[in-house]
Symmetry: C2
Subunit: 95 residues, 2 copies
DNA sequence: GTAAATAGGTTTATAATATAAACCAAATTA
DNA sequence: TAATTTGGTTTATATTATAAACCTATTTAC
């Protein structure tokens, strides 16, 4: 009846991060911060979790002299996102 | 960009309960338990929360000699559910 | 008739989670 | 060179989800 929801994606901020990256393929930390309205601390923690799960890959580089964290969604992340959306529909379809 | 998600509805079990009641208009505790696969304790707690928020009304009655808990969604509950679904779409629409 | 099992839940304890506050280092500006 | 800003990370706290333990009444088995 109700399909289980991936707890990693069933989180407001993590879902927003993934949603951005599904469209963008690549985004910098400050951009994600701005778009989601999250605090840097919260964002850092949630990106770590998505990265640890293999849903994101995180590249730490430099932009001029300043550090720059770039995030991209992985194929597994995209699959997980699509599965999550599919599962969600079992809750939202009001017959 | 991303609309906030009602934390009361952004919960797997509570969302399942509400989803059932949007379709059914009325359901007994054991039926909800069976359909959601939740434990009785968890279900009891989550129904209380939805009820405390005014999203559900809970009628405690008897079926023969045995206690029977009936749940119905309220107009505010329905509104909240619809708003939640609308908000969710801001996360799911992959352009 | 009474012991055990079942129905229908509620209360309570625990573990996980989300979140922001505090913090840090380097670069820039005053 | 002091203060501020950028770009984050680490840590502490408060909330939350969840199941275990529990309770009462009824039914079934002996």
């Amino acid at each position: 009846m109700f399909e289980p929801l991936d707890p990693l994606l069933h989180s407001e901020l993590r879902l927003a991060i993934m949603s951005l990256l599904v469209s963008a393929e690549e985004a910098e930390f400050p951009y994600i911060k701005e778009q989601t309205g999250a605090t840097a601390g919260n964002l850092s923690v949630q990106i770590d979790k998505l990265s640890a799960a293999g849903y994101l890959e995180v590249e730490k580089t430099f932009k001029g002299k300043r550090p720059c964290t770039i995030c991209r969604i992985t194929p597994e992340g995209l699959k997980a996102f699509e599965d999550y959306v599919k599962a969600l529909k079992s809750y939202l379809q009001v017959k």
